[in-house]
Amino acid sequence: MNILQKIYAVRLRQAAFLFAILFLLGFTADYGDTIVTGSIGEPRTLVPILASDSSSGAICGLIFNGLVKYDKDLNITGDLAERWDVSQDGLQITFYLKKGVKWHDGALFTSQDVEFTYKSLIDPGVRTPYAGDFQVVKRLEVIDDYTLKVYYKEPFSPGLASWGMNIMPKHLLEKEDLNSTKFARNPIGTGPYKFKIWKTGERLELESNHDYFEGRPYIDRYIYRIIPDTATLFLELRGQAVDYTSLTPIQFRRQTETEFFKKNFQRFNFPSFGYTYMGYNLKDPKFKDIKVRQAINYAINKEEIIRGVLLGLGRVSTGPFIPESWAYNKNVKPFEYNPEKAKALLKEAGWEDQDRDGILEKDGLKFSFTVITNQGNDERKMAVEIIQRRLKEVGIEVKIKIIEWSAFVSEFINKRRFEAVLLGWGLSLDPDMYDIWHSSKTREGEFNFVGYSNEEVDRLLLEGRRVFNQEERRNIYNRIHEILYEDQPYLFLFVPDALPVLHKRFKGVEVAPNGIGYNFIKWFVPSSERRYAR
């Protein structure tokens, strides 16, 4: 090979390499395009500490950051905080903040902003629903611009996760009344997206923050369309005017099983952060006996409910934790469907069909009760109907009553005017459940409305809040999980799947225990597939 040939060969290889790079570029991450999400709800406010609805939360999550956040495997990791130390006694948390983070208006983010957010949270004049977690804080001390120390009145391990609360800019809000500030519709944050427009009842528009501290997001524009009717939302999806939304089980199983959807959309299913249950009023004499509650658990085929109601898109729930969470006890097995065992247990509890009418009696009283649930949730309605039929087979009569949400809450749940209730819990990722299960939380309007009381659970719940070590906490919550399933204050039914659907041009999406949204800023559209020019 002479020298010319060698040079030529090298050139050729270089050219091929260059060509390969160019080719890859077409399919690798690059900045551009727009994502249009469709939602039935409209945000109420973009002041993050006032936002209690999921729509506001979704938008605030793109505009703001907390000190900490959950990573894809549901572990706590730093967000605005670089790192943190928890003192030996668990009474102090020291946060070391990231340096050089800027607000969207260019001002520097410092520990002053954290202090301001904390003070707003505990200010009795601010309409925040999130004061609870911060009232156990004794004080917050700003050490320097990037270091701050939080002192707790007592060790409070859920406290760390509570600093995932979005931090607000002091320099813009200091002199404002948070309840009525214009900031609520024109927010400035530190997050990956900057606020652009909000057209009431139509859409919100955000644009990517080029200076985001974790890197500029690949997708340039985020549009949140408000489409209150689910049928319309689905049509918009089919018309490809919406890129990203959630499906119902029936849409997932039936309406999107078409060539068109397979070609243009990607669908996901993974456990959501919540569960559906039937709660008993434990003050009601019928449900006082644990045998009765266990019998009902044997009488209900949970798999059948999942097949019928969710078309198989869910899993049996055995307790109050997120299945992917470290707190979840995988050794707790669901009771099998066994109507014979149910009948035997009911008999042991003294319930027998004496007058041969198909309904059990005890001391002259028929075993008949009413399950209430809220209007507007077909899954719950269908689940009760299946329960009704299965319980009839073991001799229990169930009546169903469906009530509009607000009336349902204030007249029936808060006042404990119910025999059994079919509801769901959406859960935060920290396993602390003091407010739901502790025996002290049974006043009107508190969350232990079934009236559950178990000394060991009470003790463990308190302990779970004091311990920071995850291994120790795991043992505590695993035990709580076990006791609750044994005690059956709720008939744990199912964990429905989250069913997001996303246009196929978006790449880089990976399902993890934390769902798909955790790496949103890394999603991208190859330049050849863009739909929206800028």
Partner: protein, 323 residues
């Protein structure tokens, strides 16, 4: 006349006061509270926090005190701020009115433009095949559920054919458009909703028109006109129509408050940010200031509409004198 109007206005104010007392009582007595939040409990939102919010809204005060405070603000034309997002109620209502008004007006004009000719031509050809098929046509419009028709049209025209936008009132790039592009864009978005809403209401107007026309055509003066040898066109459009239109004008007057009322189902299906949705959402969230704001404006319009109707009757009909 002046004295009469003055007396009527005093009466109206008292009536309005009564209306506000009753509506205020009714919406506060309905079960549920603004602090019941969304359709899911959030264990992070404690009872204390909800009580605090309730206190900040002034909901822990006795009802009469709340009413008086509300009334004091109303006198200064201050409807208060929404519980949902703390924006002034007036601002929330005013941003919704133009869309609803535009759609309602457009569909009313369309209804008149189509309904009246249908009514007249049916009356003229009473009992004919044409008359009967028009009857079937308008009653189909009346009977078909709006939501179903809307979805079918959206599917065929919006999704499959792609000729018109599916829902909403503006395109995503609306802000970048020039004036005429904006006009075309909004019009394209409004075609389906206006058409569907007009189709549903054709039956009313066309039937009124038909029967009123039939009634008039049987009058003596029509026979006289024909006997005079006037051409049929002149008889119908000059002599009959003028008289037959009077009841339609009355019906139009009655529908004025409806112009800003909007419709929940309709606005939800087409994702139109109008008054119907605002009212529905505020009722669901027990957003008392907004509910009261919408109701008061509705009541004022209805009362004024009535007054206007009475006054204009006197102006039109010499037999009526106002004392």
């Amino acid at each position: 006349m002046g004295r009469y109007i003055f007396k009527r206005i005093i009466g109206l104010v008292i009536l309005l006061l009564g209306i506000t007392i009753i509506t205020f009582a009714v919406i506060h007595l309905a079960p549920g509270k603004p602090t019941d939040l969304e359709t899911q409990f959030n264990p992070k939102v404690s009872l204390e926090a909800r009580e605090r919010i309730s206190h900040l809204y002034g909901l822990d005060k006795p009802l009469p005190v709340q009413y008086i405070e509300w009334l004091k603000r109303l006198i200064k034309f201050d409807f208060g701020v929404s519980f949902m997002d703390s924006r002034p109620v007036m601002e929330k209502i005013l941003e919704r009115i133009p869309v609803t008004l535009a759609i309602e007006l457009a569909s009313m004009i369309l209804i008149l433009l189509i309904g009246i000719p249908i009514g007249i031509s049916s009356a003229v050809r009473e009992g004919s095949f044409y008359d009967r098929s028009m009857t079937v046509f308008v009653f189909i419009g009346f009977a078909v559920p709006t939501f179903w028709l809307s979805l079918v049209l959206m599917d065929f025209i919006g999704v499959r054919w792609g000729a018109l936008p599916i829902s909403g009132i503006k395109s995503l790039e609306f802000e970048k458009f020039g004036f005429f592009e904006k006009l075309i864009d909004v019009s394209r978005h409004l075609i389906l909703p206006v058409a569907v809403s007009a189709f549903g209401s054709l039956a009313g107007i066309s039937r009124y028109m038909r029967s009123s026309m039939l009634n008039v055509l049987k009058q003596d003066y029509i026979r006289t006109a024909r006997a005079k040898g006037l051409r049929e066109k002149e008889v119908l459009y000059k002599h009959a129509l003028k008289n037959a239109l009077l009841p339609i004008v009355t019906i139009l007057g009655l529908s004025v408050p409806g112009l800003i009322g909007g419709s929940v189902i309709f606005e939800s299906i087409f994702s139109i940010p109008g008054m119907g949705r605002l009212f529905y959402e505020s009722v669901m969230a027990r957003d008392y200031p907004v509910i009261m704001g919408v109701l008061v404006i509705g009541a004022v319009l209805t009362l004024l509409g009535n007054l206007l109707a009475d006054v204009s009757y006197a102006a039109v009909d010499p037999r009526i004198k106002l004392e």
